[in-house]
């Protein structure tokens, strides 16, 4: 009896060890398949990843293409698309827990420094090398802010949000309006090669001509938070400003910065619709679509959205020009894997797919904002969106975000200061001096 028991126990133990070894083998196999990039659907069948995205048009295009990925890999993808305003807190809260709910996140260009400093992103270099992914196809300014940090590749660029002027061509070409402007200033209205001051002058004229609450020359997004900073940076760079001066000190309190916010405030009061100091991206977009504003400084990808808006009387009337002053704020998003992601290998499969040339091109053809040069120069893409050639120029001539460790906090400090100045609570120079001191202390 004892012998039988001992034999049974031995058989059971052996079975357990063998099955465990088989299980390990299966896991490794799946991993190696994925890593080499030829992972068949069998390896990932039944697995799920969670992806956090911002609820914008580029997200819609990915959702439309997602079945291709799921069919090819067998991986189910849960996409959580949320508004920008809640993204940072959501991501930050997940980063400090032992495991992350998200396998793939997107990182705004001014979060990069903070995320890298906190060690919140999983290095992608090994995946890139194993799969032979060519990162040189990305535009250099974008790769610098949403790609490599301190020599480590933490992100692959997702979409660009280089800012530019979006304008209603019908209004700017209005002969009566142009004649009136010419009678006063001796020249016609123009959106090309103009300074920030000239742009404000033109917009103020249009607002006075029609009545600023009927048709404003421009609509600003002066709401406290991200909008006012993103927009004001164009006015600052267009005025010749930059983040740092020649001595490596913050230039956010320079003359160019003070002049820019002074002009910005003047435009809010005299050229923008009433209440624009509280507007955000959606408000500005609605005003353009409703034909209540002739122009806005906004993200280039908005052009496709505005021109393709269903049931809009203004659809198809919008065009894009470089931001006044010629130097725009060049923003971008990047794909990253959280440091505490459950299965980075699986997450990489998604990033590799979504950033492949074919998918990046399909996204661009739907109206997405590319980051790859080969997509920007693709004939089919250029034929559909000829203005992408201008977007490349804007991207190359614009100014991005230097990577510093508390970048998100600095932007919060800047947005509060700009909002206080715009609301008349603080003197421009004094408020910007505080921001510059904060930036220098970081």
């Amino acid at each position: 009896m004892k012998k039988i028991k001992r034999t049974l126990a031995l058989v059971l133990a052996l079975t357990f060890v063998v099955s465990a070894l088989v299980g390990c083998g299966g896991g490794n196999n799946a991993g190696s398949n994925g890593g080499s990039g030829d992972g068949g659907s069998d390896s990932y069948e039944g697995k799920t990843i969670n992806v956090l995205l911002e609820d914008v048009s580029d997200c819609t295009y990915i959702l439309e293409l997602l079945p291709q990925f799921e069919e090819a890999t067998g991986i189910d993808v849960n996409v959580e698309a949320i508004s920008y305003s809640t993204m940072h807190e959501k991501v930050a809260a997940q980063m400090v827990s032992s495991t992350n709910s998200y396998d793939v996140i997107i990182v705004d260009y001014y979060w990069t420094g903070e995320f890298a400093d906190a060690g919140w992103m999983y290095p992608l270099d090994e995946f890139i090398a194993a799969d032979g992914v060519d990162t040189s196809v990305y535009l250099e300014p974008i790769m610098a802010q949403n790609g490599v940090t301190d020599g480590v590749t933490y992100q692959l660029p997702y979409y660009n949000y280089a800012m530019c002027m979006l304008y209603n061509t019908e209004i700017w070409a209005d002969p009566d309006l142009n004649a009136a402007y010419e009678a006063k200033y001796g020249k016609k209205l123009s959106v090309h090669d103009i300074t920030v001051a000239e742009y404000v002058q033109e917009c103020e004229f249009i607002s006075n001509y029609y009545g600023k609450d009927t048709l404003a020359g421009l609509v600003q997004q002066g709401g406290r938070g991200d909008p006012i900073v993103m927009e004001w940076l164009n006015w600052f760079f267009g005025n010749g400003g930059d983040w740092y001066d020649a001595n490596g000190k913050s230039a956010l309190n320079s003359k160019a910065a003070v002049d820019a916010i002074t002009l910005y405030k003047y435009a809010l009061e005299n050229a923008s619709p009433t209440g624009a100091i509280s507007f955000n991206l959606d408000d500005a977009q609605m005003m353009m679509v409703d034909g209540k504003a002739a122009s806005m400084i906004n993200y280039n990808w908005q052009l496709a959205t505005l021109n393709n808006m269903e049931n809009s009387a203004t659809a198809g009337k919008f065009a894009l020009a470089a931001a006044p002053g010629g130097s725009a704020n060049v923003g971008s998003w990047g794909w990253a894997i959280p440091h505490n992601a459950k299965d980075p290998e699986l997450a990489w499969q998604f990033i590799k797919w979504v950033e492949s040339f074919e998918i990046a091109k399909e996204r661009a053809l739907k109206g997405g904002a590319p980051t790859r040069t080969d997509v920007f120069t693709d004939e089919e893409v250029l034929e559909k969106y000829p203005y992408y050639a201008d977007v490349v120029d804007i991207l190359n001539s614009g100014i991005g975000m230097p990577q510093f460790k508390d970048s998100n906090g600095m932007i919060e400090k800047l947005t509060t200061a700009l909002s206080e100045i715009a609301a008349g609570e603080k003197d421009a120079q004094a408020a910007l001096d505080e921001v510059a001191a904060f930036m220098d202390n970081m």
Partner: protein, 289 residues
């Protein structure tokens, strides 16, 4: 008998005490400890011990001191107005018989909507260009008003929305108090020739004092912590016109990632609320005695 009492005390009180300690005392103590460190959300651990530095720097922070003032203005304004209007509505509802339930159901609808939905809906209605409020006002010749964009109006507008949403809460609690009042004193007062106003001030108010204390205390605490409405409607702007203390704490915790600073600011918030709670509880007990 004494031993049995002790056993009963342990049996019945200990579970409640443990729950209370876990739910209330532990987070509060943790917050207090964190407030003495330069803890950041970016890094694991508490960081360096810096004593009272966070507390001192909070008081030197214009945004924080400004937000304390705004929070007081907001709380006093909304609680007083909600109480006055809530009491008027509760008294009116208490005196009618026909359609009382229907009226009551309609009145409590705003309370059932989440503050985020309320904020978004009102934000659209108050939109200076596309909102229905300005559209309706235009018929009587009033030009576009920047309800949320003008520093003069912004705080008042947010307060109005808060009042709109929370009056039902006042009505609900005050109604519950009014229906429990005995009828005999009112009948005696009527026989003695007391007017309705005299009955209200001499009978209703004294008898309702414990209810008043509780409702004022609870609404004051809720108002001090208001966050979602501000976040959705103004994000503290324009400038810092509507920045309340909870929003400043949120910014420190999730934008600047300064957990230590956010913790010390939270302690200031607790210190602001505790005296109010003591005052109302004292008022309630004093009246009962």
């Amino acid at each position: 008998v004494k031993l049995q009492r002790r056993k009963d005390f342990v049996t019945f009180m200990l579970p409640s005490l443990i729950v209370l300690i876990l739910v209330l005392a532990v987070p509060l103590c943790y917050d207090l400890i964190v407030s003495f460190f330069d803890k950041s959300l970016k890094h694991a651990g508490f960081g360096n011990f810096i004593g009272l530095q966070n507390y001192i720097e909070d008081l030197q922070n214009d945004n924080f001191t400004g937000s304390i003032a705004t929070t007081w203005k907001f709380t006093i304004g909304v609680v007083c107005l909600e109480f006055i209007f809530g009491l008027i509505i509760a008294l009116a509802l208490n005196s009618i018989r026909l359609g009382k339930n229907l009226m009551f159901t309609i009145i409590i609808i705003p309370m059932m909507i989440t503050p985020v939905a309320v904020g978004l809906t009102w934000r659209l209605m108050l939109h200076p260009q596309l909102g229905i409020i300005n559209y309706l006002l235009s018929f009587i010749g009033i030009p576009n008003i920047s309800w949320l964009a003008d520093p003069k109006f912004a705080l008042g507008t947010v307060m109005f929305v808060d009042i709109w949403q929370n009056i039902p809460y006042m009505v609900l609690v005050l109604m519950a108090g009014l229906v429990t009042l005995p009828k005999e004193p009112y009948e005696a007062a009527a026989i003695d020739g007391a007017s309705k106003i005299q009955s209200f001030f001499r009978l209703t108010v004294p008898m309702m004092m414990p209810t008043f204390s509780v409702v004022l205390l609870l609404r004051s605490i809720m108002s001090f912590k208001t966050y979602d409405l501000i976040y959705v409607m103004t994000r503290g702007g324009p400038g810092t016109a509507t920045e309340v203390i909870s929003y400043t704490i949120y910014n420190q915790a999730y934008r600047y990632l300064n957990t230590g600073v956010a913790a010390s600011m939270s302690i200031y918030l607790v210190l602001m609320i505790v005296p109010i709670a003591i005052f109302f509880l004292w008022m309630s007990r004093n009246r009962e005695n």
